[in-house]
Amino acid sequence: MFEEAPRNSGAIPPPRASQGPRIGAGARSLLIAATSTVVFFAAVALVVGNSPGWEDFRRSFFDWAIFSASAEDILPKFWVNVRLFLIAEALILVLGLVLAVMRSLPGPVLFPVRLLATIYVDLFRAVPGILVIFMLGLGVPALRLPGVPNDPFFWGVVVLTLLYSAYVSEVYRAGIESVHPSQAAAARSLGMSQAQALRYVVLPQAVRRVIPPLLNDFIGLQKDTVLVSFIGVVDIFRQSQIEQYASFNFTPYLVTALVFLALTIPLARFTDWMVARERNRRGSSVARRGSRRGRIFGIRA
């Protein structure tokens, strides 16, 4: 391998500095990417397709008849997940921000506030979601306290909000800490109060910077909505599982996978685009060279 390396690299001209036609470089990298992609996937298809168990595998995971029959039952259940993650995300964005601000408050008097927020974040990031969903979704209704709802959907929203606001608060906090202290100092010197400085100077910058990681957590949340299936709600995942056990075939999960893909891929590309835009806006010269027109899958577009 190592001996061949120099010979191989000889076929490709060494990377040029910024002189030379840019379009040529773009076309070349596109061509190389396309070739290597085709070769890679052809090799994978060849190896997998010729494996001794391929027919078994195909029958268990790609059974078209089961796919179409189960899709009919599975797709309507996605509405449960959509309602869950839309309601929960709205609550998470608010609660996460409140927690992050609580942790960022200065001064010895506010130590208990910081302590509480820190305990909350540590706790809900560490505890497995399954325990929380069982404890709140099944355990709390079993207490039979008057006035406490026992609707599993309600508890699904509560649990997702508790779990994800802990993650999201850390994202916000990273954003808040990325704003240089001189910004807040300048705001204070203009006569703003601490709260005003936070509200009008620090947070707007912080939140804008963390939108990509927030979207990342949002995608995670979408998939974690299946937690609600543990407390009795028949959502898209549970319906797939029901179809799986009825047929002893794993194809129904493929339906669920495609639904999530159709949702998360546009979101992921949107996130990439936002990252590129943010990078450009912040004017890093290194970044600007590579991403003047944005990048798709890491290839210049």
């Binding site: 099944l138 209704p141 549970r238 599982q241």
Partner: protein, 306 residues
């Protein structure tokens, strides 16, 4: 208590007797030609000639934890390492007794039988299986039999309704009375299918990973009743619930016909024929009846909700 259950006939014992003669959906033709003499099956099914996973040894799988009354812990002493509730090596419990009887019928000495724990999902995953056969209350369905080999039935049971004593649902006398109640079941069970296909209540059935979770939801008032197979109904009302009662049992679904538990084997397994012969032989000799009576508390007093 597990995944898949049999829906069933009205009087289970009567049915078991009927099955030894024929049983509409339990073809016993395979073994007819073998003409088992005594408790032995065909010569091709002896340990020396059987293509088991480990030559000369029989590997049987079930889920872990394995639940009563299907798998019981040893009468005294600690269970075998790795088995927490039911211990297959104890030979106690209905399915444990069935598994050992089949092994004996095939001619395996006790020392030549191994048990491994296999999660339900893995039992029907594609590819080579780690076990010779798997038994964990898996109900036969034609769809399932396309993915794996499923043996003849070794148990027939009704679905039953479990609730907390004193709740309104305990007053129902027919299936139609259940329309307004919220019912729950374990995922993957034919009990769940029975709710959606036969009982068809107004509210969507709740589905849980385990009966434990369903019981918790019942205690929290999130559901009014749980549908499980009758032996499991007896078990959970006696052991797992403080206040549980078996409200009634259900007749078999007309569409699906008689349901029964089958062994799961690899698709086109060389053992399937021999295992079927062994089950038929056990049934004909009355041994299966004896095992059933020993471990499955049957109670025909439970009213039928039609």
């Amino acid at each position: 208590m597990r995944q898949f259950r049999a829906l069933p006939a009205i009087a289970v014992l009567a049915l078991l007797a009927a099955c030894s003669t024929s049983g509409s959906s339990s073809p016993s033709d395979t073994a007819q030609s073998a003409a088992p003499s005594g408790s032995e099956v065909a010569a091709a099914c002896q340990p020396d000639s059987l293509e088991t996973k480990t030559a000369g040894r029989l590997t049987i799988a079930t889920d872990n934890p394995a639940y009563s009354p299907y798998w019981e812990p040893p009468a005294e002493g600690d269970p075998t390492e790795g088995w927490d509730l039911g211990d297959p090596y104890s030979k106690r419990g209905f399915e444990s007794a069935v598994a050992w009887a089949i092994a004996g019928e095939l001619g395996f000495a006790d020392d030549d039988v191994d048990f491994i724990a296999v999660p339900f999902d893995t039992s029907f995953a594609p590819g080579e299986k780690a076990f010779d056969f798997y038994l964990a209350q898996v109900s036969y369905t034609p769809e399932r039999a396309q993915q794996v080999d499923m043996s003849e039935g070794y148990y027939y049971s009704n679905q039953a309704l479990v609730a907390n004593a004193g709740t309104p649902i305990t007053d129902v006398t027919s299936m139609a009375d259940l329309a307004s109640y919220k019912l729950g079941a374990q995922v993957g069970t034919t009990a769940y299918q029975y709710i959606t296909d036969v009982i068809q209540p107004d509210q969507e059935a709740a589905v849980y990973n385990s009966n434990d979770a369903a019981i918790e939801a019942l205690n929290g008032g999130q559901i009014d009743g749980i549908v499980v197979d009758l032996p499991t109904a007896y078990f959970i009302t006696a052991v797992q619930m403080d206040n549980g009662v078996v409200v009634g049992q259900f007749p078999p679904s007309e569409e699906q016909g008689q349901e029964y538990f089958s062994l799961v084997l690899e698709k086109d397994s060389p053992l399937t024929d021999c295992v079927n012969q062994a089950i038929t032989s056990l049934r004909d000799s009355g041994q299966l009846d004896d095992i059933t009576q020993e471990w499955m508390s049957e109670n025909t007093d439970v009213p039928v909700l039609e």
